[in-house]
């Protein structure tokens, strides 16, 4: 009888889980679930931020994991699992964006936030997400990878195919831009807290 010593997939490393994905279906299913639990938040944060629209981002989120699973089963080699997943979702987002144009302008943002008294009813994160929509995708995605997905600048550079310095510059520009957009609302929030 074969003794199964260790069945806790959640504490296995990324590379162990990827290897198990190629195993028979029962094991593959458990390994996939462990990977999903580990990275679904990061993938979803990236897709939600880049795409904006909830329905469309849900489709891309789902497609990311389905492609990932099929790729691994078809023999894809993976060195950095999180970067690999983000790259899949990034390609899907780029395809999606190709036919879409971000038509939200800064003036529109201020109008929406002011008219809806947005800052009074929503968390700062909601306002930040709206503000991110105003930015170019290249800044937006750099920002989300670094600040939401918690990647190192090296990993951001790898995913976005930039130099380390280029990745750093892009992230920091996004942060400054974000501050400029949000400046009046952060003042309001401070006032409200007091």
């Amino acid at each position: 009888m074969k003794l199964q010593i260790h069945k806790n997939y959640k504490i296995k490393s990324d590379s162990e889980l990827v290897d198990l994905l190629r195993d028979k279906k029962r094991i593959s299913e458990k390994a996939f679930e462990a990977i999903f639990d580990r990275y679904s938040y990061n993938v979803n944060a990236y897709v939600r931020t880049v795409i904006g629209d909830a329905d469309d981002s849900a489709d891309i989120f789902q497609e990311t994991f389905i492609r990932f699973y099929n790729n691994v089963r078809n023999g894809a080699e993976i060195t950095n699992l999180q970067s690999y997943l983000i790259k899949i979702s990034r390609n899907l987002c780029l395809n999606y964006k190709r036919d879409k144009k971000n038509n939200v302008e800064v003036e529109d943002f201020h109008k929406i936030v002011n008219e809806e008294n947005f800052y009074e009813n929503q968390e700062l994160l909601e306002i930040v997400m709206r503000a991110l929509d105003l930015m170019d995708d290249k800044y937006k995605e750099a920002f989300v990878l670094k600040k939401i997905d918690g990647m190192k600048f090296e990993e951001v550079a790898n995913v976005l195919d930039l130099t380390l310095e280029g990745a750093k510059t892009r992230v920091n520009r996004a942060r400054v831009k974000l501050l400029e957009i949000l400046d009046p609302y952060i003042k309001d929030l401070e006032f409200k807290d007091k």
């Binding site: 299913e29 996939f32 679930e33 999903f36 679904s40 938040y41 979803n44 944060a45 939600r48 849900a58 989120f61 789902q62 994991f65 389905i66 699973y69 968390e123 700062l124 994160l125 909601e126 930040v128 997400m129 600040k147 939401i148 918690g150 920091n172 942060r175 400054v176 974000l178 501050l179 949000l182 400046d183 952060i186 929030l189």
Partner: protein, 412 residues
């Protein structure tokens, strides 16, 4: 390097000592820089890892797993159902009902309270085949009349006994021991040593006939059988005096002494949706279950069940070309649920249960109507009919699967 870069390097923890020095100098003299630092930090803090804002929706999660032919375990697998109104309202309703029934039976129903306190040690032990004959002969008349219902003790009418027989009736009732001589007198004892002393004194001091008292042919009679006039003699053993003393508690079976009831069930059932669909592999324990119940009263029991079974599931969705795809599957489920068993008549009971499977992919409920059978081969059994249902959701649509069948349980 401008103030923005200095602040961001500082926040990232990658600033050099020189950068820190420049930043602190700037902050000391520049109120705008101070405000900027605070605002940067505030924005950064809005992105706390684990923030629910970026958690994928339960529907998205289930879509991923469904499309890959997987099942999501844990909270997300259950979430669509937990969000539905059914579970929101039915669970509190079931819990409230259980609490009400429990409270009523435990605190207000005196009959059941008596049954509860008397349910232990309800065995009467008779020491003579003649008494058996008397009971058999008179069970519809004299025994019933002679029964002391207040004390729940059966009395033997002296007139019905054979005068030549050596009759001693011994009851074990609650924690009292009762001896009844052939003159019909009853003696109560708090412990069996006192009882034994009584017997010993009888043997020593009474007439020669009484010295022939023996403990042979001990017959166990269930108290409830006496009350119902449906006496059944279940066991006839030969004991010596010593054996009797040693075995008197052994004669009380576990199920009579215990407040717990354990049953293994076999329940062949049939889906109410026609289908030829079968699981790829049936569980080895399919249609087998186990339940453990606590006797709150003689009529009312609460407990848990675990059952291995299948339900036929049929659900549908529309694809991107507006075609309706119909999915049919019959997974093996391990269902765990809470059970209420209530005897609506003496041996007729209703058994209801509600619970979920180990993967939280739905909620099931089951209703059984059955009869209890005692002392056959010499086991106790439950048998009857059952109806069960599994409720689940897919793509925000709710579905239910129903099945009907019979069940057969062995109690131990």
């Amino acid at each position: 390097m401008n103030i923005n870069e200095l602040i961001l390097e500082f926040i990232d923890g990658s600033s050099t000592p020189e950068m820190d020095k420049s930043l602190f100098n700037e902050l000391a003299n520049n109120e705008v820089a101070q405000q900027k630092l605070k605002k940067f930090i505030e924005i950064e803090n809005s992105f706390v890892t684990g923030n629910s804002y970026f958690q994928p929706s339960a529907e998205s999660v289930n879509q991923v797993f469904t499309q890959l032919g997987f099942k999501k375990t844990g909270f997300f697998g259950a979430l669509p159902f937990l969000q539905s109104n059914f579970i929101r309202y039915s669970v509190p309703a079931v819990m409230t009902t259980l609490m009400f029934v429990f409270t009523y039976n435990y605190f207000f129903n005196d009959d059941d309270k008596n049954n509860l306190t008397n349910s232990k040690n309800n065995l009467a032990t008779f020491t003579s085949p003649q008494i058996n004959n008397v009971i058999e002969t008179n069970k519809n008349n004299d025994l019933n009349n002679g029964m002391d219902k207040n004390n729940k003790l059966a009395k033997i009418n002296k007139n019905n006994l054979n005068n030549n027989s050596n009759n001693i009736v011994k009851y074990i009732y609650k924690e009292k021991f009762v001896a009844v001589g052939n003159n019909g007198n009853m003696q109560y004892f708090d412990n069996k040593d006192d009882l034994k002393e009584y017997f010993d004194s009888n043997l020593k001091n009474e007439t020669p006939e009484k010295s022939k008292f023996s403990f042979q042919n001990v017959i166990e009679i269930n108290e409830s059988d006496i009350f119902e006039n449906s006496l059944s003699i279940t066991n006839l053993n030969n004991y010596t005096l010593n054996d009797f003393e040693n075995k008197e508690y052994n004669n009380l079976s576990l199920k009579e002494l215990s407040n717990f009831e354990f049953t293994i069930n076999f329940f062949p059932t049939f889906d109410l949706k026609s289908s030829t669909m079968n699981p790829e592999k049936l569980s080895s324990f399919n249609q087998l279950g186990f339940n453990a119940l606590y006797k709150v009263t003689d009529k009312f029991k609460l407990g848990l069940e675990i059952q291995q079974e299948t339900f036929l599931q049929k659900f549908e969705e529309d694809d991107e070309f507006n075609r309706t795809l119909i999915y049919t599957q019959r997974p093996n489920f391990t269902n765990i649920g809470a059970v209420v068993k209530y005897n609506i008549l003496d041996k007729i009971f209703v058994y209801t249960s509600v619970g979920t499977n180990t993967e939280f992919s739905g909620v099931y409920n089951r209703v059984r109507l059955g009869r209890e059978f005692y002392n056959i081969f010499p086991l106790d059994f439950d048998a009857g009919i059952e109806h069960s249902a599994l409720h689940y959701s897919f793509n925000n649509n709710r579905y239910s699967s129903f099945k009907f069948g019979i069940f057969f349980g062995v109690k131990f």
